[in-house]
C-alpha cells in the first residue's frame, strides 16, 4: 500500500527579488539574477518546486587586502591588485554575482571609480559593501549609489545604526539594500520593518541574518535561518525576504583556514582543510535556506555549485 507522505502547505511565501538591471531595464548588466520565490522549505521539491536556485557571489575588494590567507592570494594571484581584473577572474571562476567591498582608505571618488571599473569589466550584477564604519559607509555608498543610478545594485551593509542614509540613497537611485542583524529573528524583523517604514519597496530588501563559521557559532546562524524561513512561510510578511550570508568571510577568519603551521597534526592538510571549512559552512547554510552565499575561494565555489545543481533536480 503506498504510504501517504505528510506534506506541508504554507500560507506564506518568500518574495522573488531581482538584483541588477539590463540596458532595457535602465542599467548596464548583461544578466540579472533573481532569488527567493519559495513556497516551502529548502529543496523539498515533493511539496513545491524551488523557483530560483541559490546563487554564489564572490567577494573582491577595492584594494589588495593585506590580511587575506596566502591560500586565497595563491588562488587569485595578481588579479587582487585591481578590482576590475579580480572581478573578471571571479566571473571566470563561476560567480553569479560580484561582491565588491570598499575599504576605509577609499575616498568617495576612489569608490565610484572602483565600482565603475568593475561594472565595465563584467556583465554580472553587483553588490557593494561599505567598509563597515557607519560614517564612512554613508560617504562612500551615497556617492556610489548616485553614480550608478538604475543599476539595481545591492548596497550593504545596513545595520540598525546606519540604515537610514543607505536606504534613502538606495530608494532614490533604484538600488536594493542588504539588511544585517546579529543572529536574532526578532532583530531581523525589526530592521526590515524600519526599512519598510521609510518607504523602501519590499522587492528591494535582502536580509542578512549574520552567521558564524563552522566551529565558531554556525549553529546559531543555522537555527536563526531555519526559524526565519519558517516564520516567513507561516505568513510573517516582515521575514519574507531572501537571505544572504557570508560563509567565505567567516570561514577565512578562522584559525583552521588561516594558519598552516604549528597547528595540530589531526587538522590534516591546510589547503584542503580551508576549502572544507568554507564549503561545509556554506552547505549547512544552503540547507538552512540561504539564497545568496558570498564565498572567497574558487574551489569552494565549484563544490558549492555542484551541490546546488544536485539540490535543484526536480523530485
Amino acid at each position: 500500500m503506498p504510504i501517504e507522505i505528510p506534506k506541508d502547505k504554507w500560507p506564506g511565501s518568500i518574495k522573488a527579488i531581482t538584483i541588477g538591471a539590463t540596458p532595457a531595464e535602465g542599467g548596464t548588466r548583461a544578466t540579472t539574477i533573481t532569488v527567493g520565490g519559495q513556497t516551502t522549505l529548502p529543496y523539498l521539491q515533493f511539496e513545491a518546486p524551488t523557483p530560483h536556485k541559490p546563487v554564489i557571489a564572490i567577494e573582491i575588494r577595492s584594494r589588495n587586502p593585506d590580511d587575506w590567507s596566502p591560500l586565497l592570494v595563491e588562488a587569485w594571484g595578481d588579479g587582487m591588485a585591481d578590482p576590475a581584473q579580480w572581478a573578471k577572474k571571479a566571473e571566470e571562476a563561476g560567480a553569479d554575482l560580484i561582491v565588491l567591498a570598499l575599504t576605509l582608505e577609499d575616498s568617495p571618488e576612489d569608490a565610484v571609480k572602483a565600482v565603475k571599473s568593475v561594472l565595465d569589466a563584467t556583465g554580472l550584477p553587483l553588490v557593494v559593501w561599505g567598509p563597515g564604519q557607519a560614517e564612512k559607509d554613508n560617504d562612500l555608498l551615497v556617492a556610489v549609489s548616485e553614480a550608478t543610478k538604475g543599476e539595481r545594485l545591492l548596497l550593504g551593509i545596513c545595520e540598525d545604526k546606519n540604515y537610514r542614509t543607505i536606504v534613502a540613497t538606495a530608494m532614490a537611485n533604484g538600488h536594493l539594500v542588504q539588511a544585517r542583524t546579529p543572529m536574532d529573528v526578532n532583530l531581523s524583523k525589526q530592521l526590515n520593518i524600519l526599512i519598510s517604514d521609510m518607504g523602501m519597496p519590499k522587492d528591494r530588501i535582502i536580509m542578512d541574518p549574520t552567521t558564524g563559521a563552522l566551529g565558531y557559532g554556525i549553529e546559531y546562524g543555522y537555527s536563526v535561518m531555519e526559524r526565519l524561513r519558517l516564520a516567513a512561510l507561516q505568513g510573517d510578511a516582515m521575514t519574507q525576504f531572501p537571505m544572504l550570508v557570508t560563509p567565505g568571510f567567516e570561514a577565512w577568519k578562522t584559525k583552521e583556514a588561516k594558519v598552516g603551521d604549528g597547528v595540530p597534526e589531526a587538522w590534516g592538510d591546510w589547503k584542503n582543510r580551508s576549502i572544507h571549512w568554507e564549503t561545509l559552512t556554506t552547505i549547512a547554510l544552503v540547507e538552512a535556506g540561504a539564497d545568496i552565499v558570498v564565498l572567497r575561494h574558487p574551489e569552494s565555489v565549484k563544490r558549492v555549485r555542484d551541490a546546488i545543481e544536485e539540490l535543484m533536480v526536480p523530485a
Binding site: M1, I3, P6, W267, H276, I283, A288, V313, A315
Partner: protein, 440 residues
Amino acid sequence: MALTGIQIYKLLPQTNCKECSFPTCLAFAMKLAAKQVELSACPYVTEASKKQLAESAAPPIRLITLKSNGTEVKIGNEVCMFRHEKTFYNKPGLFLRVKASDPDLAKKVAEADAYKVNYVGMDFSLDGFAIEADGDFVAVVKAVREVTKRPLILIGNDAALLDSALSLLPGERALIYAADSSNFESLADAAKKHKAALAVTADSLDTLADLTQRVQSKGVQDMVLDLGGKNLGEWLTRSTQARRLALKSNFKPLGYPTIFFAAQNGVDKEAVYAAQAISKYAGFVVLDTFAPEMIYSLLVLRENIYTDPQKPIQVQPGIYEINSPKPESPVLVTTNFSITYFAVANEVEGSGLPAWLVVTDAEGMSVLTAWAAGKFDAERIAKAIKGFDVASKVSKKQIILPGHVAVLSGELEEELADWEIRVGPREAVDLPAFMKQVLN
C-alpha cells in the same frame, strides 16, 4: 508519538472504580500521559489497550545501539525536525569503510582508529568501521578486531559468510548491511542469532516500509534504513519524508534511524554529501576516505548541529594556570564560552608563555556577545578578579583585556583602583606576539 490524556482515557475501562487510587479513569489517564504513574496500577485494562499503549510509548525513531567490547554508538531516539524545537540528541556515527580485498587494510584501520582530534576541550574520533565482504571476509574481520576495538558494520549479502564473521564477535552488537527483498529472510536469521542490527534497503519508501515489517515478523527489531536516492536532492527528500512519517504520522515501519554512504557518487563529493547527511537526520554516515582534514571538519559540524541550542558549551569560571605561571606572569581575562576560552588558552599554551587566565561567568557567551548582553562588563570582571582572589597569586597587579572590549578599561580602572588595566589584541592568534613584545 505519545498519546494525550484524552486518547489514553479512551483506551481505559471508563468505569471510575477507583482501584488505581485515582477518583476517575480520566484522572488516571492524565497522570499516565504525564508519565507519573504506571499502567499496571489499573487491573482492568484490556490486552488490546495494553498493546496500543505500549506501542505509543515507544520512541518514534527507535534507539539503535552498536556495541563492541570497547565502545558503543547510540543512534536514533530523535524527537524533532528542527534543532531549535528541542535539540538533536544522538550524533550520527561516523564509520570508515574498508574493503576486505585491500591488502593495506589493517594498516589503514589502525591509523584511522588512532585518529583523535580536540575541539574546544572535547576529544573526537571516528566511531567505527564498515568492512566490505569482497575478499577473505572472516580472516579480515579477525584482523580488524586485532587493531580496533570500535563497533563494526559488516557489508555483505551472503548470510553464511556473515554468520561466520559474526561468530568472531561474541558479546558485540554489529550492524549487518543490508537486507533487501531477495535476501532478508536469511539475513534476518543471522541478525537474530547474533543479536546484530540489520540495515534494510529498497528503492522506494513504500517498498522499504513493507520490508521492515517483514523483517520484524522474522523477530528482528533493531533496523537501520538505507533510503536510497541518487543525488543530494533526492536523499534530502527521502530523509525528510522518513523523519516526518516517523515523528508526525507515528508511522512505525519507518521509525528507524538511517544509514548514508557519503562517497556513493565519488570521493570528490564525499565531504559535501556527508555534511548534508549530518545536518539532515542521518544516523550512520559511512566514509570512504580517511583524510584528517575532512574528518575534523565533519566532526566539528556534527558537534555544532547536535549542540543543545538551550545550552551553549561552557567552561567553569575560575582562574586557569597556563604553562605554570609565576607571580609575575600576566593576568588575561576572558569569558566562559568554550570556543572563546579554548581559542585563548590554546594560543597561550602553544606559545609556551606562562599566564593566569581568568575566566569570568559570562553565561557561556563570546566576548562581544557577552559584552553586548551586559554579561561581560567592568562589574563582572571586577567581581571575578576579587572572587577568585587573583591578587593573592600575583605580584604584578596588571590585567589584560581582550582588544574587542577596550571600551571597558576606564570603568574597570574605577572598579579595581589598585590594578593596572591594559588592552590586548583583538584576536587570540596575536596574543603570543603581544605577550612577547609588549608585556616584556
